[in-house]
């Protein structure tokens, strides 16, 4: 066992973990933050995407011990209290989900995308979400949801 301290959604947690514990299992099982999902065994689906020191990563392909001293943001940390993040609002307004399984990873990946490219074209949105698979929506409404969020974030920033 190794003792690690990880700041998750602004709150520091100190826990003993085995080195083989994946970040996604640490979040779900040690911290009970079950918003981050596991959708595959091959690092391909993106259901597990979180931000590690501000950068989107697949938490199923990162060891918890590698996050000692780091800051992690999960889907639970995205809203500002009761006010939804523009991406969460966009997925709601534009019907960007059906079963919702892919949604947390989709939103965390989209948040990283918008940080680097605040005004993406539809093509850039699709390309930027290449690492996220959805079995339900056919992606159309996901693209609309991300565009909605980009527009909203740009108006807020312009104010």
């Amino acid at each position: 066992m190794t003792t690690i301290t990880v700041t998750v959604n602004g709150k520091p947690y100190t826990r003993d973990v085995e080195p083989r514990t994946l970040l996604v299992h640490f979040l779900r099982e040690n911290l009970n933050l079950t918003g981050t999902h596991i959708g595959c065994d091959t690092s391909q689906c993106g259901a597990c995407v979180v931000h590690l020191n501000g950068v989107s990563v697949k938490s199923c392909t990162t060891l918890a011990v590698q996050c000692d001293g780091a800051e992690v943001t999960t889907i639970e940390g995205l809203a500002d209290g009761a006010i939804l993040h523009p991406l969460q609002e966009g997925f709601w307004e534009k019907h960007g989900l059906q079963c919702g399984y892919c949604t947390p990873g989709m939103i965390m990946a989209a948040a990283d995308l918008l940080k680097n490219n605040p005004n993406p074209s539809d093509d850039e949105i699709r390309h930027g979400l290449e690492g996220n698979l959805c079995r339900c929506t056919g992606y159309e409404n996901i693209v609309r949801a991300v565009r909605y969020a980009a527009e909203k974030m740009n108006t807020v920033n312009a104010d």
């Binding site: 190794t2 085995e18 080195p19 083989r20 514990t21 994946l22 299992h25 065994d41 091959t42 690092s43 391909q44 993106g46 995407v49 950068v55 989107s56 990563v57 697949k58 199923c60 392909t61 990162t62 060891l63 011990v65 590698q66 990946a109 990283d112 995308l113 930027g128 290449e130 690492g131 996220n132």
Partner: protein, 287 residues
């Protein structure tokens, strides 16, 4: 799925990493970006007893451009993709890297890790061969430099010694009269290359004075295409010359078939993508 248990070390220097490699021998594996190793460990295709995480070794990260280009082994795809200096000194590298996997893979995966892993469908090895790069390594006996052409020896196998670390990759800047390009047919789900071809061309006036072409994805390891290179040499680099040279691509290498593409199909695609890569490389060399 969860990897089998291992001991974990995160050394802060290259010397410390090498002494750990010496101490644990065959049991130990280096952990770089983890995007080839951890998926293999989750599926229990690999179960090292010791992981030596080199992410804390700051000197292994970053790009330095002076006479030539020095890319630290732990430089991520993300850094290479967005590096303005690289875009002007050797634009083909960011171009290749932008086609790897997805944003999250590129945020973690590293150039050193990809070369050491030597996946037969990886993109960077083809570019490294076409650019005739040098791979700098450190081991118990000190430093050595391996030419890209001597580095890949078989499927998932390199000339790296078990207790050696890749520390940097050295690439020449592309100057006037030189052009390089990469043409890739990606697997639609994983984005790995079903076939990928990297080409480098140097024009001396109206004649091709140097040419290197490397294929990935098609065979057990990334492979230079000597016959295509010879056919390009001293030609005028015209569409006809390129088409003729591209016909030779794949002729003298093992090509593998699998559920994604048969051997025949891959052989046909090697020619098509060789032609595309050479066409762009020549156009860039003429600019």
């Amino acid at each position: 799925m969860i990897p089998s248990a291992f001991e974990y070390f995160a050394p802060a220097s290259v010397a410390e990493a090498i002494s750990l490699l010496e101490q644990y021998g065959d049991e130990a594996k280096i952990l770089a970006g983890g995007h080839s190793l951890l998926p293999a460990m989750k599926l229990r295709l690999a179960s090292p007893g010791v992981l030596i995480d080199i992410n804390k070794i700051a000197e292994l990260r970053g790009v330095v451009i002076n006479g030539s280009i020095n890319i630290g082994a732990m430089t991520t795809w993300h850094t290479i993709e967005h590096h303005d200096g690289l875009k002007s000194a050797c634009g083909v590298l960011p171009e290749v890297v932008a086609q790897i996997g997805d944003i999250q893979v590129r945020n973690r995966g590293t150039l050193g890790g990809a070369l050491a892993h030597a996946d037969p469908a990886a993109d960077a090895p083809a570019a490294i061969l076409a650019l005739d790069a040098q791979i700098r390594t450190h081991g118990p006996g000190g430093e050595r430099t391996i030419a890209a052409g001597d580095f890949f020896t078989d499927m998932l196998t390199t000339s790296l010694e078990p207790n050696e670390l890749i520390t940097a990759i050295i690439v020449n800047k592309l100057g006037a009269g030189e052009g390089a390009a990469y043409a890739k047919f990606p697997h639609p789900a994983s984005r790995y290359a079903i076939v990928g071809v990297a080409a480098y061309v140097k024009m001396n006036g109206d004649k091709v004075s140097a040419c290197r072409v490397a294929v990935t994805g098609a065979g057990p390891m990334p492979t230079r295409q000597g016959d295509t290179e010879q056919a390009m040499l001293n030609s005028d680099g015209s569409a006809e010359a390129i088409a003729k040279a591209a016909e030779e691509a794949g002729a003298n290498m093992d090509v593998l078939g699998d559920i994604h593409a048969s051997e025949d199909y891959r052989r046909a695609m090697v020619k098509v993508y060789a032609r595309r890569a050479l066409t762009t490389a020549v156009a860039r060399a003429r600019r």
